[in-house]
Subunit: 337 residues, 2 copies
């Protein structure tokens, strides 16, 4: 495979340069180019619980693109596919702290869990109370290259949107954290890759995928899933929809449920194809008695230029739907009720 051409200036500076670009076009964000921390520069409600997330870069718009009114107060951006260090998370926590404590939304990868925990302890030393919500929504595998237990993937978007709205409305620290655990418990994801991705500065993909093969249950760093199969000759989107929805529904019933649906692109798959897949996913879910209450289709939790998809589903109560619908104003998600 040929080396992928990257629209970068210097691979070693990719994150700094990307954050400089984010700052240049989003004056409503405050970007710390030393620490790689993005936070809200607009007015926050005094005494609001702070909401912080972060993780390795390469999943844009997650997380920095979700900073803003009604979602995250700050995000710590690690190097590509590498957890941010505790000092970065601490800086994000400080930026988000406003006297009512801070919730950390942490995707379940070993490095992230460890570094967010250390940052929480450092914050505690500064009298900032931190609660942690661990996201482990990926049903594909339990334990992989990067993690013990299930991985945190597309469901992170549900958690960040819903907790962001709850915090904006004045919910207290313990309640926001408890709500976060409820959202995690109601969320499931399953991903598929049809081509790999290459990290900046590397001269080959992070994993091999022979032409005509696809990886079912792929992780967002390209880590292995459940199995590798031949791409079928026809109805590929339907096959992916069937496999993804079956994996989710085997783990969490979707019948007679209001669902928030994310049909997510991994970065390199065009929207035309995501729309085809979305149609198939909706029929699979409704065929199982689920009701699509809300849906998003696009590139939200990505793996650089990987081609493929992730289906994420959240079983939504009326409270969760209200919070989902609440106003949000971030680079990647923006709406008003």
């Amino acid at each position: 495979m040929d080396t992928v051409v990257k629209l970068l200036d210097n691979p070693a500076d990719a994150i700094t340069d990307a954050l400089r670009g984010l700052a240049a076009i989003h004056p409503e964000l405050s970007v710390n180019l030393e620490q790689h921390v993005v936070s809200r520069a607009d007015d926050r409600r005094p005494g609001k619980v702070g909401l912080v997330s972060g993780g390795g870069s390469g999943h844009e718009p997650l997380h920095a693109g979700f900073v803003g009114l009604g979602m995250l107060d700050a995000a710590a951006c690690g190097e590509v596919f590498t957890s941010p260090v505790p000092d970065q998370v601490l800086a994000a926590t400080r930026a988000a702290a406003d006297g009512a404590g801070v919730v950390h939304v942490v995707k379940n990868y070993t490095g992230d869990v460890m570094n967010f925990r250390m940052a929480a302890e450092l914050a505690d030393d500064e009298d900032v109370a931190v609660e942690t919500v661990l996201v482990d929504d990926d049903v594909a595998v339990s334990g992989s290259t990067y993690t013990a237990g299930r991985r945190g993937t597309g469901g992170t978007l549900f958690v960040e949107k819903i907790l962001g709205a709850a915090a904006e409305q004045g919910m207290g620290l313990a309640d926001v954290a408890a709500l976060g655990r409820d959202v995690v418990a109601a969320s499931r994801s399953f991903g598929v890759a049809v081509s790999p991705c290459t990290t900046p500065g590397s001269d080959k993909p992070g994993f091999d995928l022979a032409p005509g093969e696809m990886e079912l249950g792929i992780g967002i760093h390209g880590e292995p899933g459940r199995r590798r199969v031949r791409v079928p000759d026809g109805e590929l989107a339907r096959e992916i929809a069937r496999t993804s929805v079956a994996a989710i529904a085997d783990d969490m019933p979707v019948d007679d449920q209001d669902l928030i649906l994310l049909v997510n692109g991994m970065g390199g798959t065009p929207l035309l194809e995501l729309q085809v897949l979305a149609g198939d996913v909706v029929s699979e879910l409704t065929g199982r008695g689920g009701r699509i209450a809300r849906a998003l289709v696009g590139n939200y939790v990505t793996s650089l230029e990987m081609a493929g998809s992730m289906v994420s589903v959240c079983r939504a109560t009326p409270q969760l739907l209200d919070l989902w619908d609440a106003p949000v104003r971030t680079p990647a998600l923006r709406w008003r009720a």
Copy 2:
């Protein structure tokens, strides 16, 4: 080059299936699966000028993803990279007609121009007055595989957003069309490809691009640009920014101007890279004395999974900025003032 794996069910049904998916997740849209026409199903202001666009598919979210309050009333979706036929455009025109006439926003490609003109004549027979706004913002080349004169590309987004707001506010037919011509006159674009794209059902890319080469001035169907060059060893994003902004500024001064900026991905380039490019584009423009009044970064006018970028710039008057900021609620653009 290996065949690109497409997340489709049947390449021949790609557009129908994609529109079925769009309908499944956007109940606020009315989707005609026979004619491949997408229109607003929500309430429209009575007596509003209708706004219609369309063109070949493969550029998603353009145009169907821009249907909704404050933007298009209807879009006609041709086959991939193929103009919609007059009957489709007529169906879209009927869906958008509400007694005050209809404006056609047409990208300047030979097939589109001809088919929209025929549809306008058919609409006239039905006593629907049609005005046409021809978009030819691409400074790269004058005349190419698909067109006589300049091509219509990224600037189409500016035209559709601004005219959509004007129509929503009650502006009359002739004035909306005249405003559209002003926006076209104030808009310029320049694109670059670092990898090609393959249309559904084809077994090879629409054009060849040797590894390590890039096409400067690429069209949104992969048609040739100004020249093909070696990808530089470093500072690729800066080189693309410099070349794109120079091509634009040579054609239309940007100094001492308020600018609306679109740093657009061609479909296969990850957001991390588009953000790096955006930072470089902003410094090139501000270095020439331009002021970034508004900016969008992401995949808005694409070429399937092509990797690369398009920079589009609109010189904005206070009126254009007000219309840009006006509420919009479509699948791909959504905000409130």
